[in-house]
Symmetry: C2
Subunit: 494 residues, 2 copies
C-alpha cells in the first residue's frame, strides 16, 4: 500500500499520462496524416489539451499533496518518483495558463505554415508567424527563470537536460573548438586519397521502406507496438506502448532514410525498453532528451556506422536494393564515415554535426536572452556557417535557418541535447568495449546482445530513477567525460 498523499499523486499523474497519450497520438497524426484543412482545429484542440494538463498540474491540491507526501514514509523509488512529479509541478506552476495556450497556438500555426514556407524559401513569410513564437518562448524562459533561479536560456535547457546549464555547454563547446576543426581538416585530407564508390539509384520508396523495416527488426523494434511512417521531418513519437517512427525518402539517396530510421529506432527502443509497470508515472519515463539522443546516436553513430555493422547488413542492402559494388562492406563504411561539411544538420556526418549544434546553441541563446531579434538570425547563421564549416548560405533560408522543426514549434534549448547525446553514447561504448573486447567480431556475426543488454540494464530499465549525472555515473563509472567522444572520433576517422 502506498501512503495516502503519494497514492493520490499517483492517481493524478496517471490521469496526466493518459491525457498526454492523446496529445502524442494526435501530434503524430498532425505530422504524418492530417490534411492541411485540419490544422486550425487541430491546433485549437492541442492547445486546449495543453491548458488541461497545465490546469491539472497547477491545481492547488497538487501542491498540498506534494508537500504532504514529502513527509510520508517513502522508499527510495517512491522518493525518486516524487522528485519527478515535483519537477513537472515546478515547471507548470511557473507559467500562467494564458501563456501555455498562446504558446501552443503560436507554435502550431508557425510550424504548419513553415511546412510550405520552407520549400518556398520564404523567410519573410515565416518571420511573420515566428515573431510570436519567440515572444512566448522568451516569456516562458523568464517565468521559468524566476522560479528556478537559473538564467532564462538555462531554464529552457533544464526542460530537456535537467542539471546541465549553459556554463557546462560553454566549456564543452569551448573544448570542441580547440580540436574539432583540426580533426575535420586532417580527416578530409586523408579521405581525399580514398576513392568513394557511390551507390547508383534511383531506389524505389517501397524497396527503401522494406529495407528500413528489415533493419528495424534487426535492431529489435517491436512492430506489434509501433509503426513506421513518413513525415517532413523524421521523428520518434507516439507513446511507449505504441511508438511511431517516421522518416522521409529520397529516391536518389537510400542512406538518408536508412540512417534516419536507425536513428529514430534508437529513440524507439528506449521507449519500448522502459519498464512497463511504471510507464504511467513520471518515474517511468525517459530520463531526459540528452539521454534520449544518446540512444538514437548509439544506434546511428556507434552501431550503424561501424564497419562491423555495415558488414552485417550489406547482404540485406543487396537483397532490397539490388547488388552493387557500393554495397561491399568497405565501400559502405567509407560512405558512412565520409566527412563533408554540408548545409543540412540531419544529413551531416558525425564529425561536422557538433558544429551545426554549436551554431544553433549560440544563436538561440542570444535570441532568448534578447541580444538578437528573430530578424537577425539569417545574418548570424551565414556568419557562423562560414566560420565553422566554410559554407556560404546567404539567401538560402530553406537549407539554412528554416531547415529544422524545432524553432518553428517554439522548441528552444533542445539542440544541445544532440551533442550531449553524442558524448554520452561515446562514453557508453567505451565502457561496453572494455567489458566486451570481441564486440565488433560479434556484431559482424549478428550478435547485438551485448549492446542491447548493456543499454537495457543501464539506461532503459532505469527510466527516471536517477538524475542524469547519477545515471551516467552508475552506468559508466564516471561523470560526463568528453575525452571518450574525442577518442572515438580519432579511432574511427584517423
Amino acid at each position: 500500500m502506498n501512503p495516502p498523499a503519494y497514492s493520490a499523486l499517483c492517481a493524478t499523474f496517471t490521469r496526466l499520462y493518459r491525457y498526454q497519450h492523446l496529445g502524442a497520438m494526435v501530434g503524430w497524426d498532425q505530422a504524418t496524416m492530417m490534411p492541411p484543412g485540419g490544422n486550425t482545429a487541430r491546433g485549437a484542440a492541442l492547445a486546449e489539451l495543453d491548458v488541461l494538463v497545465h490546469r491539472t498540474l497547477t491545481d492547488p491540491m497538487l501542491a498540498t499533496l506534494l508537500q504532504v507526501a514529502d513527509d510520508e514514509a517513502l522508499d527510495d523509488t517512491q522518493r525518486a518518483c516524487l522528485r519527478e512529479m515535483r519537477r513537472d509541478w515546478v515547471q507548470a506552476s511557473a507559467l500562467p495558463a494564458r501563456l501555455v495556450e498562446a504558446k501552443s497556438l503560436a507554435g502550431s500555426r508557425c510550424e504548419h505554415a513553415w511546412r510550405t514556407q520552407r520549400p518556398q524559401n520564404d523567410w519573410q513569410g515565416f518571420l511573420a508567424n515566428f515573431h510570436d513564437v519567440v515572444k512566448y518562448a522568451r516569456e516562458e524562459a523568464r517565468a521559468l527563470s524566476q522560479t528556478s533561479g537559473l538564467p532564462p536560456y538555462d531554464a529552457l535547457l533544464d526542460k530537456y537536460e535537467p542539471g546541465t546549464g549553459s556554463a557546462t555547454l560553454d566549456v564543452m563547446f569551448g573544448d570542441l573548438k580547440t580540436w574539432l576543426p583540426g580533426l575535420i581538416r586532417k580527416v578530409r585530407e586523408k579521405q581525399t586519397e580514398e576513392p568513394l564508390v557511390l551507390a547508383g539509384g534511383p531506389f524505389s520508396i517501397e524497396s527503401q521502406r522494406a529495407l528500413g523495416v528489415a533493419i528495424m527488426e534487426l535492431l529489435g523494434f517491436d512492430f506489434s507496438a509501433g509503426r513506421l511512417d513518413v513525415s517532413t521531418h523524421p521523428f520518434c513519437g507516439g507513446v511507449a506502448e505504441d511508438v511511431r517512427v517516421t522518416t522521409r525518402y529520397s529516391e536518389n539517396d537510400f542512406l538518408r532514410s536508412l540512417m534516419s530510421i536507425i536513428h529514430e529506432t534508437g529513440h524507439a527502443r528506449y521507449e519500448q525498453g522502459l519498464p512497463r509497470e511504471t510507464l504511467h508515472l513520471p518515474l517511468g519515463r525517459a530520463r531526459s532528451m540528452g539521454i534520449h539522443e544518446s540512444q538514437s546516436l548509439s544506434f546511428e553513430m556507434q552501431i550503424a556506422r561501424s564497419p562491423a555493422f555495415l558488414a552485417l547488413i550489406a547482404p540485406t542492402l543487396r537483397k532490397h536494393l539490388g547488388a552493387q559494388e557500393a554495397f561491399e562492406p568497405e565501400h559502405l563504411a567509407r560512405l558512412c564515415t565520409r566527412v563533408r561539411p554540408g548545409l543540412i544538420r540531419v544529413e551531416s556526418d558525425e564529425l561536422t554535426y557538433p558544429a551545426h549544434i554549436m551554431l544553433r546553441f549560440e544563436i538561440e541563446r542570444a535570441l532568448i536572452d534578447g541580444d538578437i531579434d528573430a530578424a537577425d538570425i539569417p545574418a548570424l547563421w551565414d556568419e557562423k556557417m562560414m566560420a565553422y564549416l566554410g559554407l556560404d548560405t546567404c539567401g538560402n533560408f530553406q537549407d539554412g535557418c528554416l531547415q529544422d522543426i524545432h524553432w518553428p514549434t517554439g522548441t528552444f534549448g533542445y539542440f544541445p541535447s544532440y551533442t550531449l547525446g553524442a558524448m554520452y553514447a561515446a562514453q557508453y561504448f567505451a565502457c561496453i568495449r572494455r567489458a566486451h573486447p570481441g564486440l565488433d567480431a560479434g556484431l559482424a556475426a549478428g550478435d547485438l546482445s551485448p549492446i542491447f543488454d548493456w543499454l537495457n540494464e543501464n539506461i532503459w530499465r532505469q527510466a527516471s530513477r536517477w538524475e542524469t549525472v547519477q545515471l551516467l555515473q552508475r552506468a559508466t563509472g564516471e561523470v560526463l567525460n568528453p575525452g571518450h567522444f574525442r577518442r572515438h572520433l580519432q579511432t574511427r576517422y584517423l
Copy 2:
C-alpha cells in the same frame, strides 16, 4: 454580444468540442493505424477522455448556467443552441462517472478482441468480453430512462434519433413487414429473367483506391480537409474540419469498396457542409444519426445506384479497372440493383437491407430490456434470418451476430437509424424530383448540383437548428412518410 450565462456556456461547449476532437482523431487511429500492442493504453486514454467530458458536463456550475441562460434574452438560434446544450447535459448527468469509464473500457476491450475473434468465428471468446458490454449498456439505459421517463431501450434510441421511440419503429417495421417480403419475392422472380454480366477480377487495391478517390472527388469530397484510408469496418470519422473516410478492399469485388466509399462520402459531405461558424457549438453539429444515415443513403442508394449516375461513372470505372462488358451502364445498373438475400448487412442490397435492421432492432431491444441474455443471441439470430430472409446461419457467427462493430463497442439503439435514414432519403428525393423533373438527365450528364444544392440548403446548413421532425417537415413539407420509400423501391425494382 451574447448574454453572460449563454456566453459562459458557449465557452464550455467550445472546450468540449476540442476535447472531442482529440477523441475522434485518436478513435480513427485506433481503427486504422494502431498496432495491437497499443490498445490497452489507448483504451485507458479514451476512457479518461470520456470521464473528462462527463465531468465537464456534470459540473454543477453548468446546470446553474443552463438555468440562468433560460431566462436570458436569446434569439431563436441561441435558444436552439441552448436546447442542444441541455440535451448533452441531461444525457451526461443521468450517468455516474464510474459507469462512463467502465462502459468505455469494456467497449474498447471487447471491440479490440472482436477484430480477431470475428475471423476466427469465436463466439464463446467474444461472449466473455461482451457480457460486461451488455451489463453496462443496460445500466446506461436504466439510468437514462430514469431521467427521461422513456422506456430503457427508447432512452438509447433517443441518443441517435431524438424524438423517435420504439413505438414509432414498431409501426414502421410493422408496415414494412406487410409489403416488403412480397416485393422481394416479386423482384427476385423478375430478376431471374435478366441475365447478369459479372465483372471479372482481380482488381488491384491501388486501382480500386484510385477509383474511389475519383468518385469521391466527383461527389464533392474535399481532400484538403479529409482522407481515405482502410479499416476492418468502413466508417466516416474524424471531425468536420478533417473528415476521415475508411473502406476495405476485396480484390474480387470492386463494387463493395466503391459502394462503401460512396456511402461514407455521404456522411462526409454532411460534415463538410455543416456551417463553419458554429461547428464548435452543439447548434452546429449534425442533427442526428438518422439524418446522418439519410445522407449516406442518399449518396449510396438514391444517387449511386440510379441508372443515370452509373452511366455517368461507367467511363471512370473503365479508366481505372479496365474495359469490360460488365461496365456498360445497363449491366452496372442490373448489378447494383440485384436483389439477393445475403448474410452480411453492409453488403446487402437496398431491398433486403431493412430486414437486417429489423432483426437487429428486435434482438437488441430484447437484450436491453433483459428479455434475453447475450448468450441467447445466436439462436435468435438464426431464427430471424430464416424467417426474414430464408437463410441458414447456424454456427456461422462471423457472418452472423459477430459481423457488426456496433454491439462490441456497446452501441445499442443505433441500427434503426439506417432504416430511418433510408426513408428520409426517399422522402428527400421525391421532393427533389418534383422540383427537378430533368434530374436524371442532368445527373447522367454530370450535373449533381440540384441534389447537392437541395441537401446543402435543407439539411447540411441547418445543422442542429431544428428537431428532426421539424427539419424533415421544413425540408419536404411533411412528416416522415414511409410511402415514399415504398414507391421508390417499386419504381426502381418493378
